[in-house]
Structure formats: structure tokens, C-alpha cells
């Protein structure tokens, strides 16, 4: 009566996939992970999903990068090199391009898959050693609209409730999130709350998993979100159901907002969104009357050319209903990557330093100049999407340093991205696996995975958690923090910015101590030693407090302590379906895969979901002569891909849905490089396509 396999060791760490940040025990024998068990307690409370449980095969995949590679001359081959040569080459080329074209010719892409400590070092590399605010990470492509709207309106861009509060909400609104597939553990918790009496409202064009268990499903037309939520808010005010006390005490901008929604009547919203006016009314009234109501959302809200307005419309609704600042009531952007919250917190964004200290503030810049002993640039940085658009243009970006980012699969309009990468003077790819972008690199730096290093990840509800190494990285691969500190020391010496010795770290804990000193208000009370014992949420200013769970209990984090109501108007999409391209293409994820597929398709998950299936409504299938299971072409103005048709009423008539995970069938060959003017997020959810039988 013994287990089949006696583990050599069991390592407690954090799942590398999504922002839920599930804690896992990895069972290891003969340097192989053979069993993954959930830990009890927050954030996952004993549960996991298929990706964390069975999707870690990528760690030992033959595509792991194991030695530094250098392209010694343009047009030559990538050849193995020593770390010394590769690091010197990177620093020298970056310094050379910065001196010839200015530091803003460099661009640094950090990674929401890397640790907090590594994200901190990447933005330090840009700001202290290179002298530019040109640093960003993939949140630009996912929740930048949430960050823009929430920071502006509330002064903090994170979930305002915790996962543990899900059962405390008597009404939950989920919109633009296929939660049971993309954040499965939270999806299951919302389903369980619904079974226990929580009233669930889902607003989504697709019949996603939660729509099937919702009490009220508002199947709105894609992109009409501001009208739907604007009409709900307008109805609450017009019928006297809004929280007048909360608004008087905590809101500003009411008149201007009220003017902006005058035409958003229930009837008008019914016509625009396609949702019956009565359902919109019921949703509004149930939401406002709830003892505690929370809104959860993801990419269906943010990835529009009016993504910031979409999020603002949710903010307006929550503020008017007074559904903020109490347990179970709040605004909750479900963050995608395991450490996307942390990447933003660490200042891997062009407009903020660690702890969201604005780069536009001269006093803040002076403080960091002193902190690092390096002059701080006054030029504002540009976003990642703007940076890629600028390549090849006068004054544009000429060198890109990618850490754990694969723009060929993730940026919109793939052919355009490929052409841009060809034009770069210098490209560094620092990654754990061969991705689609790596053939374009001038230098490839092999990195250690989450299971091969120390550090911290911050999950979607602001919980900072320790990760621990399971085994040694393959070949010569090294942790990102080590690589960045080696590049930083060299670059600092070449540019003369800062003290090269400021890049000497004994390990991630020493980096974290620098983060605590740099952003004491959020992280001052969080130490690696404390995290050994417990996960801690920011804000946590001192060691004697546990960290804040519910945000905004005593007002908002804006200078006036009030929430800003702002007009949030619908705009037509950048590309309307018409003529040759009559269908709307929406893109997203499926349960079994992760983003560009670099991780999940190099694991057992590949077998469970081997190829691209495009969701086609029965009406469109009949119209375009497509049968279920048939090969089809999806064609946009920018390219075409082949897929297998899945005829299903999950997607509404006029809309086809394609997952983004398949490098050979890349949905982003079709998407349009049109952006939200505020957040610069691509409008992945609305491109015009046609369907052809193959």
C-alpha cells in the first residue's frame, strides 16, 4: 500500500499559466515532474485546471533554448556563443545604437511571465542604464484599456475585490470574459457561487460557459458595450435607483457624464445592442439593488478601439450604483498572465516607475535619478504597439530587446510585424523556448523557466507569492534576473549612466529589497522572508500589516479621493463588416491552450486540442455553404488562414471566432492594426473577414 512513485522531492510553487496564480505542489522523481497537486488555501483553494495540472511538458521539450546564440554579421547564421560574448555583444550594440540615434531608438519589452524582480530589472535597464522610458509588456495587448480607465477614474488599476469574496457577492456581472476557459479556477468558483444563490448576469456576444449557467444572459452585438452599460447607468439615475449618497460623497463629474448618456435610453440601447430593453432594465435593477455586486471582465471589454470607454462605462455603472469599496462589491479586471499584475506594478510600462509613480512628474523622476544614481529621461516613453508601428520610420525604434515576448504571434497584422522585424538594426530574443520571432534575432539568450529560479509572481487579486526552483535550467540557460543584471552592468559602463556596481545582485531577494525601497507605499511590508510563510497582497506598507483585501473602502486613490465619472461613448469599429468581408472576426483563447501556443502546444495539451477550429454560427454556415468539420479559409484584407469549421451557436450570426494559439494558422495574420487612442490596445475583437470553403 504505497504510492506508485515515491517522489525525490515535492516543491511548492506557483502555476506559470494564468493570473489566478494557483499554488501547486510539484512532485519530482528523476528530474521529472510526474504529478501536480493543488494546495489548500488562497488563491485556488485546492483546485486547478487542465493547464496547470497537465500542461507543464514544455519544461523538458527539445525546443528549449540551451545556449546563447549570436548572429555575428547581418545575413549570417545564428551561431552558438559563450555568455561572455553574447552579453558583451548585446550591451555594445545597444550602446552603439543609443549613441548614434539617441536612447529612444531602443525598445525594451518586459514579460508578464517573468518574476517581479525580473520586471523591475528590465525597466531599470531601460531607465537607468539606457536612459529611456521605452519599456512595456504584453498588458499593452490585454488590459491596457483597464489600466488606463481605472487609473484615471479610481487611482488604482487592479481587482478591487479578492477571489475569496466571490461567494459574498449577491449579484455577479461577467462581461467579455470566457472565465471557465481562460481563468478556469475562478470560473468554477463563480459557478459554485451561482449554485449557492448568487444571481449571475453575463453580457457577452458568445454563449460562453458562464452564459449557460447565467440567470440573465445579455447577448449584445460585438462592441456595443458602452451603450449597454451606459443605458443601465442612465436607467438607474432616471428611475431614481442610483446610490445618491455614494455619488454625493465619492463621485465627481456627474453632470458631464449625465449629459453624455441622454440618448442612451433603454429602447435605444435595445436597438443598438440587440438585447431586449426589458433585460437591460432587469440587469440594471438587480445589479443596483444587490447587497453586494461585483463586475468581472477581460479581453471582450478591453480589446476594442474604444476599450478604454468600455471599461469607463463599467466604472460609471459601479460608481453610480455604489457597488464599490465593500466586501463582494467592486470592479475586477481578470488579469491574463501569471505575473501581468506584477509586471505593471514593477513599472514595466512607459508612463510609470515601480509602484505606479508617474514618469511625467519631475519630482518622481528626481527621486529615481537619486535612487539609481542615473539621470532620468524627460522624454515620455511610447507604448509597445506604437513602438512596433514606428520601426522603419524616421525617429522610430531601431533596436528591440524582447524578454519572453513573441510579437509575431501576439501583435495584430502579422505580415506587417514580420516586415517591421526585418527592418530592425538589432533584435534580442531572451526566452525559454524557440518561438516564432527567434529566427529574426541577432542575439538569442536562453532563459530559465519558472521552475528553475527563485522570485515572486503577483496574481490577479494582488497576491504576491514566492516561486521556488524545481530543478536546474537545461544547458547553459540562466534566470532572466541574472541575464538582465549582466547586461545592465555592461550597458551602464558603456553609457556612463549610473553605477555599474548597482547591478551586482546576489539573487532575486536582493532585487526585491530594492523594489521595497523604491516603492515603499505598495511593497514596503512585503519581504521574501514573510512570503515564505504567507502570500501577501499589496498595498502593504509595513511588516506589521497583512496587506489590503478590499480596495476603496475609505474613498478612492485619486488626488481628490473621489471617483471620476467620465463620458464613455460608443465608436464604430475600425473595420466594419461589409461587401467582400461581411463577417466580424473575434479572437481569443480556448481552455487547452495558452496565447501563442509556445508553452501549451509543447505539452500534453497539444493532443487534447491539436488544431485551429473556427466557430461559425449555423446561419452563416448555411449562407456560405460550410459544413461542421469542413476545412475553410478565413480571409481578411491582410491575409488568409485555413481552419476547421465548428458550426455552433456559441457564436452569434455575423461573427466568427478564432483562437490565437496556432502558429501555423495564426489568427493575427488577419487582425487589423487599429488601436484604442488612449490605451493603444489593438482591436482584436473586431476585424472584417469572409469565409470560403477550402
Amino acid at each position: 500500500m504505497t504510492p506508485r512513485v515515491q517522489p525525490d522531492r515535492v516543491v511548492s510553487t506557483v502555476c506559470p499559466y494564468c493570473g489566478v496564480g494557483c499554488r501547486v505542489d510539484l512532485y519530482v522523481k528523476d528530474e521529472k515532474i510526474y504529478r501536480v497537486m493543488a494546495r489548500e488555501g488562497p488563491p485556488n483553494h485546492g483546485a486547478l485546471c487542465v493547464k496547470g495540472r497537465f500542461g507543464l511538458g514544455f519544461l523538458r521539450h527539445p525546443d528549449r533554448l540551451t545556449t546563447p546564440l549570436v548572429r555575428r554579421e547581418k545575413g549570417g547564421a545564428l551561431e552558438p556563443a559563450s555568455w561572455e560574448e553574447a552579453l558583451d555583444f548585446v550591451a555594445e550594440r545597444l550602446a552603439q545604437i543609443a549613441s548614434e540615434h539617441g536612447p529612444d531608438a531602443l525598445y525594451f519589452v518586459s514579460s508578464a511571465k517573468a518574476s517581479n524582480e525580473e520586471n523591475y530589472l528590465m525597466q531599470k535597464l531601460a531607465r537607468a542604464a539606457a536612459g529611456t522610458h521605452n519599456v512595456d509588456h504584453c498588458a499593452r495587448l490585454c488590459h491596457s484599456s483597464s489600466t488606463a480607465a481605472l487609473s484615471r477614474a479610481l487611482g488604482s488599476a487592479a481587482m478591487s475585490n479578492t477571489i475569496e469574496e466571490i461567494p459574498l457577492s449577491s449579484v455577479i456581472v461577467v462581461t467579455g470574459s470566457n472565465t471557465v476557459e481562460t481563468h478556469p479556477v475562478i470560473g468554477a468558483m463563480i459557478k459554485k457561487a451561482t449554485r449557492n444563490g448568487t444571481f449571475l448576469i453575463v453580457a457577452d456576444p458568445r454563449r460562453v460557459g458562464l452564459a449557460e449557467v447565467a440567470h440573465l444572459w445579455l447577448r449584445l452585438r460585438p462592441g456595443t458595450d458602452p451603450v449597454l452599460f451606459g443605458a443601465m447607468a442612465r436607467h438607474l439615475v432616471a428611475s431614481g435607483r442610483y446610490d445618491t449618497g455614494f455619488v454625493a460623497r465619492y463621485a465627481e463629474g456627474f453632470e458631464e457624464w449625465w449629459e453624455s448618456v441622454q440618448d442612451y435610453t433603454l429602447e435605444y440601447a435595445g436597438q443598438v445592442t440587440g438585447v431586449p430593453a426589458g433585460k437591460i432594465q432587469e440587469a440594471a435593477e438587480r445589479y443596483a439593488a444587490a447587497s453586494a455586486a461585483a463586475i468581472y471582465w477581460a479581453m471582450g471589454i478591453t480589446q476594442h478601439n474604444h476599450g478604454t470607454e468600455n471599461v469607463q462605462a463599467l466604472v460609471n455603472l459601479a460608481v453610480l450604483a455604489g457597488q464599490l469599496g465593500k466586501p463582494g462589491a467592486g470592479l475586477n479586471p481578470l488579469r491574463g498572465q501569471n505575473n501581468v499584475q506584477g509586471a505593471g506594478d514593477m513599472g514595466a510600462l512607459p508612463n510609470v516607475y515601480p509602484g505606479y509613480q508617474p514618469t511625467a512628474d519631475a519630482a518622481v523622476r528626481r527621486r529615481w535619478a537619486e535612487f539609481w544614481g542615473a539621470p532620468q529621461p524627460e522624454n515620455p516613453g511610447v507604448t509597445m504597439t506604437e513602438a512596433f508601428e514606428s520601426i522603419g520610420r524616421p525617429g522610430g525604434v531601431r533596436a528591440v530587446y524582447l524578454m519572453g515576448e513573441d510579437p509575431i504571434t501576439s501583435e495584430p497584422y502579422q505580415d506587417h510585424v514580420r516586415a517591421a522585424l526585418e527592418e530592425l538594426d538589432f533584435l534580442v530574443v531572451q526566452d525559454i523556448l524557440k518561438n516564432e520571432t527567434y529566427p529574426y534575432a541577432d542575439v538569442v539568450l536562453p532563459a530559465a523557466s519558472f521552475a528553475e529560479k527563485h522570485g515572486t509572481f503577483t496574481n490577479t487579486d494582488r497576491r504576491v507569492q514566492l516561486i521556488r526552483p524545481v530543478f536546474k535550467a537545461p544547458g547553459e540557460a540562466e534566470p532572466d534576473w541574472w541575464i538582465l543584471s549582466e547586461v545592465g552592468r555592461r550597458l551602464s559602463r558603456l553609457t556612463g549612466r549610473g553605477d555599474p556596481e548597482g547591478w551586482e545582485y546576489t539573487g532575486p531577494d536582493e532585487v526585491w529589497e530594492e523594489v521595497r525601497r523604491g516603492a515603499p507605499n505598495l511593497f514596503g511590508g512585503i519581504s521574501h522572508a514573510r512570503l515564505e510563510r504567507e502570500g501577501l497582497r499589496w498595498p502593504c506598507a509595513s511588516e506589521d500589516v497583512p496587506g489590503v483585501s478590499v480596495l476603496f473602502t475609505g474613498g478612492f486613490y485619486t488626488p481628490s479621493k473621489k471617483a471620476r465619472l467620465l463620458p464613455a461613448r460608443w465608436r464604430p469599429p475600425a473595420e466594419e463588416p461589409s461587401g467582400e468581408f461581411p463577417l466580424i472576426l473575434s479572437t481569443g483563447r480556448v481552455l487547452y491552450h495558452w496565447h501563442g501556443g509556445v508553452l501549451s502546444r509543447r505539452s500534453a495539451l497539444r493532443e487534447a486540442y491539436p488544431e485551429l477550429k473556427v466557430e461559425v454560427s449555423p446561419a452563416d454556415a448555411a449562407r456560405y455553404g460550410v459544413r461542421d468539420g469542413q476545412k475553410v479559409w478565413l480571409v481578411s484584407r491582410r491575409g488568409r488562414i485555413q481552419a476547421t469549421a465548428w458550426v455552433t451557436d456559441r457564436t452569434p450570426e455575423g461573427v466568427v471566432f478564432a483562437p490565437i494559439h496556432f502558429a501555423e494558422q495564426p489568427a493575427n495574420r488577419l487582425t487589423k492594426n487599429a488601436y484604442d487612442p488612449t490605451s493603444k490596445i489593438p482591436s482584436y475583437k473586431q476585424s472584417a473577414v469572409r469565409l470560403e470553403p477550402a
Binding site: P3, R35, R195
Partner: protein
């Protein structure tokens, strides 16, 4: 809320209102044996191993499914209870391949259980077929003694999917899927939360099977 005074094995315990005898006993450091009970899945009341005696009640009742009440007098160990538990354990071991069970050996030893006194092991459950129908885990049902934790993890307790189902009667009763569909056809999302809570090793990751077989599978 006020505490609920109960006496467990002669010791006064201040229990929480609404909690089970099992929880109150565990917090007081009293061990009661369980097989099916699982906090996370909510599984309880099936295996009858946790039965306890209560003053004024005619027969033993399961500690995992009985709430405390003020003034309750509970006894968790007696010769009669040991005999009951011994029989439960012997029948489980007689009917099931328990070689990979994570806790049963200790209980069998503690209660001096001797499955052989009932004769040869029964073929019933031991003859069940192993099912491999997906890329992630195996279902070795000869090792399953129907504790139902997997069903509760799949359905009400955690996942809300109900891909697993219970079918058959008597010795034929066991866990399957509706109409014996493959897991994928039954709507399984392969979260593996059933694997997590399975106490017997009946549900096991393919990686683990492969490693145990020296990588030959």
C-alpha cells in the same frame, strides 16, 4: 456566535455552531478514521468508517455528517465501533485493489482488520477494466471503492461540470460517465480535481504511470 458545548470521549469541547462532530473532534485533537470524507468536495456519510456513539441515540452515526448540538455526549472509540470499522475496512479491502491507497493501510492495522476471514478476495470491483480515453490521466477502476469524492469534485463540490456519474447496483455499482461516454464526450474539462482528491490511486496522471513503468507506457 456562542460556542456549543459537547463532550467528546469525556472531554468538554467548545464546538462552533453548525460544525460537524468530525471537525469538532479534530480540532480537539481526537482522531476519527475516515475514507470518503473530504472537506473540499463536501463528500460525506458514505463509508461509515467515522461512525461514533452518542448518548441517547440508538445506533452509531457518521461523525462527518452529524452536526454538533449543545450537551451532546460523544464516544468515538469502543469495542462495538471497532468491530463495525473492522468490518467496513475488511469489505473494502476484500472488494478493491487497495495497494496504492494513501491511508487505508494504517486503519487496517489499527483495527486489526483481516479481510481473509471472509474468504478469497471478491472479483467484482477487482475485475473492472482500466480506461484510457484521454491525454492526461488514467482510470484504474479496480482500485476504486466508490468513495464518490471524484463525483463531488467534478460536480457540486468544485468544478460544476458533472462529467462523472454513478451507475449500477450492488456489486456492479461504480463510477463512470453518462452512457459510458469518453470523458471528452461527457464534457470533462480535465481539471484533474478528481485526480487530486482520489484516495486510492484509481485516478492517476499518465506521467506518473509512465514513470512507474520506467517510461515504457
Amino acid at each position: 456566535m456562542s460556542r456549543v458545548p459537547v463532550v467528546i470521549n469525556g472531554v468538554l469541547v467548545e464546538a462552533e455552531p453548525g460544525e460537524t462532530i468530525l471537525n469538532a473532534a479534530r480540532r480537539a485533537g481526537v482522531e476519527i478514521p475516515t475514507i470518503c470524507h473530504h472537506e473540499r468536495t463536501g463528500t460525506k456519510g458514505l463509508c461509515r468508517l467515522c461512525v461514533v456513539e452518542m448518548a441517547g441515540r440508538g445506533r452509531p452515526e457518521p461523525a462527518c455528517a452529524t452536526e454538533v448540538a449543545a450537551g451532546m455526549v460523544v464516544n468515538t472509540e469502543s469495542e462495538e465501533l471497532a468491530a463495525l470499522r473492522r468490518t467496513v475496512l475488511e469489505l473494502v479491502a476484500l472488494e478493491t485493489n487497495v495497494e496504492h491507497d494513501d491511508g487505508l493501510a494504517g486503519w487496517l492495522e489499527k483495527y486489526g482488520a483481516d479481510p481473509a476471514r471472509w474468504g478469497e478476495p471478491l472479483a467484482g470491483r477487482r475485475a473492472r477494466q482500466t480506461i484510457r480515453d484521454n491525454a492526461f490521466y488514467l482510470r484504474e477502476y479496480d482500485k476504486c471503492y466508490n468513495c464518490r469524492r471524484c463525483l463531488d469534485a467534478c460536480g457540486e463540490g468544485i468544478q460544476g461540470v458533472w462529467a462523472l456519474a454513478f451507475a449500477g447496483r450492488g456489486a456492479e455499482a461504480g463510477v463512470t460517465t453518462v452512457f459510458d461516454l469518453t470523458l471528452a464526450e461527457a464534457g470533462c474539462v480535465f481539471c484533474g480535481n478528481c485526480v487530486q482528491v482520489c484516495p486510492t490511486g484509481a485516478l492517476v496522471p499518465l506521467e506518473e504511470i509512465s514513470l512507474a513503468a520506467g517510461g515504457l507506457l
